[in-house]
């Protein structure tokens, strides 16, 4: 049962997020097929287009998931209805409009060609408008309630930070080095900075609900974790400033602070494990429990450990621009951000659709979890093998790029095999979501008393 009627808008955000997630995977397969070659779509839908759609859909569906999560979480934390449910619907429509226009534009070859920020300028302004509506709506909700918890504070901090850090991406530079320098303000300070606040807040919210742990204790440690995130992540941006024309002191600054970056992720894993361990996995929604704990552990591996594996400058000078990055990128995004959104969807679905928690411990839901986790682990291993071999053959022995690609083809086959396992998991998750059914009629609410 929903605590507040207007929380129901989260369902639409989550449904949209899952559609975009499925599309992201489809374009991922298209790009992967091109690695295996030959490419019948070479002159109609080339790799660059398929890849930019794949990565942009990732960002869009995750942000859609964050927005839905915020619209679910803020009313519950502040104990009040959303300021304007209508505005939340308008925001979703605008957001999806901008997203669909962007993807259609890519298919027609309209792009700004900056990895992750390919969206044309006008549409970027559209994103700014959506973010303004979103933050206004949340701020007004909290203002009306007059109750502001640490958890939602951290969430809001992350969302405001994400909106502000999008702005440097709007500035054009004639100097390629400066273009790169400020592009990382968006990309790095998002995924290794403010997005971690969003993740930390969602994790704290889920842990409070799932483990029944004491809020004071949880929020105390949440400050430690997000404190470590910024302590390491802000200057850790330096690991992108080794070889792009920036001064050599970044080698020291980036190397040292990047080495600290895993601490925040490891902190989250220990934090989640301890809290869940204390309550003894007793919550009936075991699918949500799996995704929550899984996210904390997988992000520590993918974002923390695998990131650290190649941020040290003496290693990075050989691995920079190889599949080592692909390996880290896939597991990091999945572990830290995809899994926490899937955890939020799994946790909130019973309330949103008026079903019971016990139904959510479905076998299909658990299959989806293990297939996705197993598939992503396999993809990471296949990409690690490809990346290590590429680094050795191409960068150290000096074999040509094309000859090296031929020698690592077998790892692309393994990538394909494990990606099939992963996508089976995605299908299972989506089917499980559809099977529960859309919310019908007026939502049941517990009222203001809770």
């Amino acid at each position: 049962m929903l605590a507040y009627r207007s929380q129901r808008v989260a369902y639409a955000y989550f449904a949209a997020a899952l559609v975009l997630f499925a599309l992201q995977i489809a374009f991922g397969f298209l790009a992967l097929a091109k690695y295996l070659g030959p490419d019948p779509l070479l002159d109609t839908l080339n790799f660059a287009t398929a890849k930019s759609i794949h990565t942009n859909l990732l960002l869009v569906w995750l942000l859609t998931g964050f927005m839905g999560s915020a619209y679910y979480l803020v009313p519950e934390e502040s104990r009040v209805e959303i300021h304007s449910e209508r505005l939340a619907w308008i925001q979703l429509a605008l957001w999806l409009g901008v997203g669909v226009t962007t993807i259609a534009g890519y298919l027609l070859g309209i792009t700004e060609g900056r990895k992750f920020l390919e969206m044309p300028f006008v549409l970027k302004l559209g994103v700014v408008v959506v973010m303004l509506i979103f933050l206004y709506n949340l701020a007004m909700t909290i203002r009306r309630a007059g109750r502001f918890t640490t958890t939602e504070g951290v969430l809001l901090g992350g969302l405001v930070g994400a909106a502000l850090l999008f702005l440097p991406g709007l500035i054009p530079f004639d100097n390629y080095t400066l273009d790169r320098f400020y592009r990382w303000w968006v990309v790095h300070l998002w995924v290794e900075g403010v997005w971690e606040l969003i993740m930390g807040a969602l994790l704290a919210f889920l842990l409070i609900r799932l483990s029944g742990a004491d809020r004071e204790v949880l929020e105390k440690w949440l400050y430690v974790i997000v404190g470590l995130t910024f302590l390491s992540g802000i200057l850790g941006t330096g690991h992108h400033y080794y070889w792009i024309g920036t001064p050599p002191y970044w080698l020291w600054v980036g190397g040292f602070f990047s080495a600290l970056e895993p601490l925040a992720f490891l902190g989250m894993a220990v934090y989640a494990y301890t809290m869940i361990n204390r309550s003894g996995l007793s919550h009936p929604n075991s699918v949500a429990l799996h995704w929550t704990l899984g996210s904390a552990i997988f992000s520590a591996l993918g974002a923390g450990i695998l990131g650290f594996a190649h941020t040290w400058p003496q290693v990075n000078q050989w691995t920079h621009g190889t599949h080592i990055t692909t390996m880290h990128g896939h597991m990091a995004f999945f572990g830290a951000y995809a899994m926490i959104v899937l955890a939020m969807i799994s946790y909130t679905l019973p309330a949103l659709t008026g079903t019971s928690d016990a139904e959510r411990s479905s076998r299909l839901g658990l299959w989806a979890f293990w297939l996705m986790v197993g598939g992503m682990f396999g993809m990471t291993m296949a990409l690690a093998a490809a990346g290590i071999l590429q680094t050795y053959l191409e960068r150290i022995l000096g074999l040509g790029y094309l000859e090296t690609q031929r020698k690592i083809q077998v790892h692309y086959l393994m990538w394909l095999g494990t990606a099939l396992i992963f996508s089976t998991g995605v299908s299972a998750y989506v089917w499980d979501f559809v099977r529960v059914g859309a919310p019908r009629g007026e939502p049941h609410t517990l009222g203001e008393a809770t």
């Binding site: 790009a31 070659g37 030959p38 490419d39 070479l42 002159d43 080339n46 790799f47 660059a48 890849k51 930019s52 792009t111 060609g113 990895k115 390919e118 640490t150 004639d174 100097n175 390629y176 080095t177 400066l178 273009d179 790169r180 320098f181 004071e216 929020e219 105390k220 400050y223 430690v224 997000v226 404190g227 910024f230 302590l231 802000i234 200057l235 400033y241 080794y242 070889w243 792009i244 024309g245 920036t246 001064p247 050599p248 970044w250 080698l251 000078q317 920079h320 621009g321 599949h323 990055t325 191409e394 960068r395 150290i396 022995l397 000096g398 074999l399 040509g400 790029y401 094309l402 031929r406």
Partner: protein
């Protein structure tokens, strides 16, 4: 430790490291012009950057190691392959590569001659950026250098000129990126298998119209002034007869290095 303590840790730490980051950013911003020789950043380079962006190049290629991993890194491409070859390649990639033979092929993007000139100006400018020594050794598009394991291979300061030349050919000089030394393997340039004998017969051939009188002079001329004489056959020159080989070696190699290279090439019999 109370929640108030950890809150202070968060706010104080974040403020401190944000300030340090902004300070370093200001300093970095001020040094970029010198480190990227921005005096050479003219309107052609800027137009080239826009071509690079408009055609979404970095979602296949990497540049300074940044981008996607589906196509080769282009940081040093102009120095390695020269503008002549790259212009012809960009106009029609399928004239030089095939999916069957090479596994990958660049799509034909329909770039105008102006766009090709601009993007090559841009890439040449990028090559001059001070990258703190990256890449530590050249990244090649093609080429299968017959190399000994690291450590057992000749070094650029080996005592014998031929060994030094071999190290230069397969290493820092990146000659192996365009020339194979195995018979019949034509990359961007012709195979140099048996080049010692070929050079000797060519200077004696009546159709040769360069200045060299002996095989080693012929090799020197080919390195320092590649278009002086272009051997007939193969797809190694523009329709106007300009060799695809870069013309910067007279400037970038010193006389000793050229001697070393020739000492190595004459061993290819």
């Amino acid at each position: 430790m109370t929640k108030a303590t950890t809150r202070r840790f968060f706010f104080a730490g974040t403020a401190l490291f944000t300030l340090v980051f902004i300070g370093l950013t200001l300093h970095t911003h001020a040094t970029i012009a010198a480190r990227t020789h921005s005096d050479r950043l003219d309107e052609r380079v800027v137009r080239g950057l826009h071509v690079w962006a408009r055609y979404n190049c970095e979602n296949c290629h990497t540049l300074l190691g940044e981008g996607a991993y589906y196509a080769p890194d282009l940081t040093e491409i102009v120095a390695q392959r020269g503008k002549g070859y790259l212009s012809a390649f960009l106009a029609d990639p399928s004239a030089f590569y095939s999916e069957e033979r090479d596994g990958r092929l660049m799509p034909t993007l329909g770039l105008s001659p102006q766009e090709i000139d601009d993007v090559l100006e841009f890439l040449a400018w990028v090559d001059g950026i001070d990258t703190n020594g990256w890449p530590p050794r050249p990244i090649l598009v093609t080429g299968e250098a017959p190399r000994a394991p690291p450590g057992a291979e000749p070094h650029v300061d080996a005592p014998l000129p031929g060994d030094r030349g071999r190290a230069l050919f397969h290493g820092a000089g990146a000659c192996a990126g365009c020339h194979a030394v195995a018979p019949g393997v034509h990359l961007v340039g012709p195979s140099l298998a048996g080049i010692a004998g070929t050079a000797a017969t060519r200077v004696a051939d009546p159709s040769y119209h360069g200045d060299a009188k002996a095989a080693d002079d012929y090799l020197r001329e080919s390195i320092l002034d590649p278009s002086r004489f272009v051997a007939p056959g193969g797809n190694f020159a523009t329709p106007e007869g300009r060799s695809f080989m870069p013309e910067h070696y007279a400037k970038t190699l010193d006389a000793g290095q050229v001697d070393d290279l020739i000492a190595y090439l004459v061993t290819l019999r």
